[in-house]
């Protein structure tokens, strides 16, 4: 049995009504876990949504890029995952 691998996990928080749909967060997310939502916000833009929940590392690069302060990422505690290596 291989040693467990420590992964960093995180999630994003989105203030949808601030979003103007620029797409920076989606483009520059390193694990590419964001995509435009199908729905609209109050101003008619498609905000982002987290499509691969357990892929987010909470690196907050989305938060750093967002010109509208509409999204930010938070790192949760490092999670131990037992993984099978072949």
């Amino acid at each position: 049995m291989d040693a467990p691998i420590k992964r960093v996990r995180g999630t994003v928080y989105i203030l949808a009504d601030r979003c103007k749909g620029c797409g920076f967060c989606i483009e520059f997310c390193p694990p590419k876990v964001l995509a435009f939502a199908k729905g609209f916000n109050n101003h008619g833009y498609h905000p982002p949504e987290l499509v691969t929940a357990d892929g987010c590392t909470g690196c907050d690069l989305c938060g750093l890029y967002c010109p509208d302060f509409a999204i930010y990422g938070v790192m949760e505690r490092g999670v131990m995952i037992k993984e099978q290596r072949t």
């Binding site: 601030r18 620029c22 920076f24």
Partner: protein, 296 residues
Amino acid sequence: MSAELKVIPPNPVEGFLRSDRMPHIWCPGCGIGTTVNCFARALLQSKLDLTNVAVVSGIGCTGRVSGYLNLDSFHTTHGRAIPFATGLKLANPDLQVVVYSGDGDLIAIGGNHFIHAARRNVDLKVVCINNFTYGMTGGQLAPTTPVSAISTTTPYGGYEQPFNLPYLAESSGAIYVARWTTFHVRQITHSMTEAFKKKGFSFIEIITPCPTLYERRNRLGDGLDMMKYFKENSVVRHGAPTREVDIGLHGPITVGKFVDRERPDFQELMTRQIGRTLEALAAEREPSGGGEYVAG
């Protein structure tokens, strides 16, 4: 998923914003907000006492930054952020004074003040958001607009040689000169933290998309297209000679930290000079060995 109420952690930069004024007026894909994010993080990382940080801006889209920051912030007249900031800083040297304004405001109407403050080495941190245009008024020619670019006042294409801002800043006397694009968020943050530690005129130029005006009129896509362009076409050259870092309508953008040097700031120069002279005058009146000052 646990049934307990999840506490949503706050956005680390929310405290820097006047949240009651969100959402802001900048266009979708405008990079100004991105630079403000970097600024907020730079302040966090620098652990500066925010009570002593003051932001001064001029007029324009970038000029609106001061209105959204939850610090002592001053939205002054067009081109005059730097002299206002000079008065503020010299009247209270404990303040960390940041000038945050656009290329048109700082370099056209404000150009004279820019070069003099750099010459004097006034301890100001100047963040220049360069989107190659006058955004707020609809996209007119700026002193940074590349040759042949379309603007509303040069509808047939521009023909003026633009300023090379790092070159201008360095030759005027700035002690810290860096340029990044809004793609380079971590580097912007880092440069800002470096600038906060400098004592003197520090200049950071940030190339930013203006999708509604400059990009649209010049068929350069939208904000995201520009960000990708910045990513593909930026060339990092720390220490590059600033005379070589001109920007054209297409082609590479040289980024990096170009100048990082030391020289006494304006306050120090003034205090030293006046202090020295006053001491000499006092010594003339009281020659060593005591005795009375005798007129004539």
